[in-house]
Assembly symmetry: D2
């Protein structure tokens, strides 16, 4: 009988669902060296927590995360919480020797991130940061192609992460729009993903120039009971200040000489969750769009003259990472599958005591880039990392 | 506590996995009036069956489907088998009063289909036929738009279902390529899906003209142990005759005056699982491609002059059928999700004693069209249904 | 000084403009062995003819085509007329020893076509039939790739030519919608182009099964003064019968074993001039769409596993046929350029006394296929050519 | 009889051809108030000049541009030269009272541009700067949609102009790669077009932050006889320093609060001439790609919920600017047509004595933005205009 790993999850909203689904599905589709057990779910509102736990087969519930973290039967703490709460939970969990599966962005600032990393390392726990888009077959395969030299020397990284959920000025002031709860706007939420992909595919960033925009300065206050999710409702007649940016642009140089750009916004009308990147190299090029996440565009300079062009690779073949665990070629997968891949790799990393990426060290580097961006946007000057 | 419905599944290959996943996931993402219980899995090879059952949480196994079908604790029989075996199992299950969730295509011929339908009706069991593509959000929404009059009078249905898995002449003679086990080639396997969509979106078919092709007449025999799946291996030095068509084209008239075409092939190099349709009407048009199944193309004559064009609707918004059960807008779903939708609707239909479509009556009509196509291809003449 | 070839054009509407432009531009962009001189334009309405001739630099005008055709100074007769008038003019021109540049479709029927071909051959004149889409760089290059063996044995031809200019039932009964003036509807107008491409890219057709539709049986009569063009205006209160089909579908077998389909319609709402084909072969596949006529889609089985996909070739590089005569790579050309290519090749064929394709022999074969389609649609039976 | 306007062109390479074609075609397709006469072509190499003039119907040739500029019979000077030569010619032509049709980018620096503008204004001549992409139907229509309020308040401008013609390190050091002849690299050549579109569609730019890259520092010297065009050949064994940037990125704020980004590069492998922009506003969004220049993407917030999506408008309908002068809907035009539109508008502006845009005032503003970008890239700091 396979070893079991008991998971305790904290948070039961959007990410609580996405993570729960992944813990359930990973052993169905992947050959794992250990079986994750959905042991306990933790949240503050007992009633809705119990409903969540029942639906998602969590065996028990806890309303005090400190208690959960200190339970000796728990092997893994899954932090499915907003960034504001990562630091306290991660530090405590690591000190208790729990492996950590942490939602992104890592933390509110690099000081927190440094400490989180240090405590994890000191306590020799696995620390996984859930920048899940790395683990789509198309993106993983892009990395493989780069590693295999298909792209050659990389000249350009061009990336945008575009959403449109706050274009309406009547959309309320949810926690994501206040600095004290979110630290920043799309620079944190979206560019953290984008910078992770850049680190993964291109390498470390050397300098950052940034520009932020604040299109709508004031919004109706949010009804507290709904403020955790994107379809929040507004209170009447009460307004508050938006204290994070609405959009964030960056131009960067990488240590390897590549130059890059990032655009993150919640004001791109018509783009729901479009994370797109283009990579141009001396031997070939790649392009990706999360809204068509099963596809990878590839141009090869090695193709015969006259027959060159961007190919649409449908990354659903057995040769594409993770794809053989799912369905035959041509049968696409969706957003949630990347979480399953993360869980599968995380379980393997624990059991085989190997590294899993991205981890808190990667997260720290991401936060440093994001912070440099905020500084650059404020000063109007390029920041060297 | 919610009522439970015990499911017995027969078959544990590709479709066994896809169905099992759906039984597990449906209650996680949908509010169901009853809970499906994965009671027993049935198959002939005990060892691999047990492995399958363990992985997918089936409580028990059976190696004799007749025994499973007659078990009083079973409420639902899930027929996840090749078409050759549907008739016997469905008849027996219906006679035992079991609700039936049946993989497509319905049967080997219309005589079987008629009897299957009659026995189900006589025994008042639910009979669902798993043409799952109806239940993608994009296709369901296409139907809604047609019902709402957005497309107006429909002139054209243009459809192709294209795969390429047997282009290599060394691909072996699996059961799908022999008439005695499969009845027909893509006319059965692929056009059954396509005709179902046509019935769903346009209406009944009145006449059929068809053309079939037999590109590769002989192939290596398949190694029996692998012949159930698409990545079969060949035996050396032994060849056998391909007794089904390699491609099947149809031109049809619908009873409502629409004209339509179908192309089904396993020889469309580069197309892995492309099911595409175009619908042209007096007020608007629609287009769909299964390899981008989250998208629906829509052209409206009502758009302002100069601003008309095909729109790419990303059918992931709360307003799109099924989508609100999954993730926020812009987060796509995949192939397997349509099975979950089918299970959710099936459970509801049982508990609320309502109809679920497509059923065996729909399946019978599909088989009649497919048979008419075979006759037309043989005679070179149009067949009136 | 280069030899001059005097051109006489008959017709000065849409095609008159497109041809005139081509005669003017060809010597600017191509190195021609002779210079076409725009000698005389011919039409029945003197005033508008003179205006046309002045604008397009035709030196003289004639209102009697017979006179033009018999002028000894004319080398080339350009028949820019509706199909109804091709026969008389072509026969007369050939008898006078003029080279013929003839708009498509060739004729009203195969009897006419046979005679036109015979008289041309007897009189040893060049006879070019203007199926101009062959001469787009993308389509020409597709042919080259097929000839080079890139596609291998071809299994499938899938083609549609879709327009939407008569979806509105109030669109008047122009000459294109009456059998006595047009012979047929899209079967003649659109499928003639499509069949030409099929002959060019695949080969000869062996059998035809067809289906036609008549969606709108009666329309307002057209104001005669406007009936020559697509934006015709209707007379009030007078209706007439539509005597050609609104849409025509064909399924064919080619002599080489390929199977194919055609759809031609004026009822594809949202498609303005979409001529699209897909070709699937044992080694690769191609796809084309006239509305993106600079692009050719190509899939190669020879690409490395995992890196296969349809490539978008932008056929604007020097290696692509005709492209080096225009602009640098990436600078696209448009609809009219294919006429320029035709003129350039036609001049060369005359001066070098070589064949130019498609010619009236090709046109005859096309008409035979189209006629077979009409017969098949009437009888419901496959027709063997 | 219509008035005639005598044109003298200076330069007979790529732009000489593109301009000549436009002077010839404009009166064929547009109703012009005056007729441009191709009077004299000017260049330094007499033999190739004469060949050019003959081919393109220029009546006479001149080898001294000063002489051409002072000829009293010349009404219009067409400057089809590299930017290095614009200043001298334009100043002289304006002083002689000639109207000026000037290729882009306007000049080597803003000091030149200011003086060019002043002398033109003082001498009351028309001064047109050929940022021709404004005059594609799709881009012109985008402007109309913005003016009509379809897009609402604009939040984002995202633009890239990508080519790949110098990725090969053996591509020689043509004049475009040396500061003394070109002033800058893609910042001048490509971003001048991009900034013109931004000015046209969004408005004036307030601040600029920029980043440039120098990927390949040294290249073979170019064979002088070929260095004027993109397919230059290299001298053996002699290398020189590349003194312009290889790529230039900018982040900007517009005076109206929009934020924007630009990427210009000659190192985007696979992109031949891709100029793409995205515009996101409170009511809708637009996107464009020059390689598909007949298409405009449009998203409207006003579309019914569930039916929203980016539409592909094929800007070939009579309602689209310039399109009715060409062919029926669905028949696309190409790169060169935008030059014809420019000529047509220029002739009208002269005859009706109205303004034509962009003019040298617009060009000056563009150069100021480009210069600010160079300064910002050097200092690492945002520059306020």
């Amino acid at each position: 009988m396979k070893k079991q790993l008991n998971v305790g999850i904290i948070g039961y909203k959007f990410m609580g669902r996405a993570h729960s689904n992944a813990w359930i599905k990973a052993p169905l589709f992947f050959d794992l060296p250990a079986v994750p057990v959905l042991k306990a779910a933790c949240g503050r509102q007992e009633e809705s927590l119990k409903e969540f736990a029942k639906k998602w087969h969590w065996e028990e519930t806890e309303t005090d995360w400190k208690k959960l973290v200190s339970r000796p039967d728990i092997d893994i703490i899954d932090i499915a919480l907003p960034q504001q709460l990562h630091y306290d939970v991660a530090i405590a969990a690591a000190k208790e020797g729990k492996h950590i599966f942490c939602e992104k962005p890592l933390s509110m600032n690099s000081r927190q991130a440094e400490e989180m990393l240090k405590v994890c390392e000191d306590n020799k726990v696995k620390h996984y940061l859930n920048h899940n888009y790395r683990r789509t077959p198309a993106v993983s395969y892009a990395r493989k192609m780069i590693d295999d030299g298909k792209i050659g020397r990389i000249f350009h990284w061009r990336c945008a992460y575009q959403q449109d959920w706050i274009v309406d000025p009547e959309f309320p002031l949810t926690w994501q729009l206040r600095k004290e709860t979110a630290q920043a706007g799309p620079q944190w939420d979206l560019n953290s993903h984008a910078v992770d992909l850049a680190h993964y595919l291109i390498g470390d960033i050397a300098t950052v120039s940034a520009l932020t925009a604040h299109f709508i300065k004031e919004r109706p206050l949010a009804d507290e009971t709904t403020s955790g999710n994107l379809s929040a409702t507004a209170k009447e007649n009460e307004k508050g200040e938006v204290t994070v940016e609405d959009a964030a642009l960056m131009m960067v140089t990488f240590k390897n000489g590549t130059i890059g750009s990032f655009e993150a916004t919640r004001f791109a009308t018509g783009r729901k969750n479009r994370l797109t990147f283009e990579i141009y190299g001396s031997k070939g090029s790649l392009a990706f769009d999360l809204e068509r996440m099963n596809e990878l565009q590839y141009f090869s300079n090695d193709d015969e003259a006259g027959q060159q062009g961007f190919r649409t690779i449908l990354a659903t073949e057995a040769v594409h990472p993770y794809a053989s665990n799912w369905w035959p070629a041509g049968h696409i997968i969706g957003y949630e599958h990347s979480f399953v891949h993360a869980v599968a790799d995380f379980i393997k990393a624990i059991e085989e005591d190997t590294a899993i990426k991205p981890d808190f060290a990667d997260g720290l580097k991401i936060i440093q880039v994001l912070e440099a961006g905020i500084v650059s946007a404020e000063t109007g000057s390029q920041v060297t990392l």
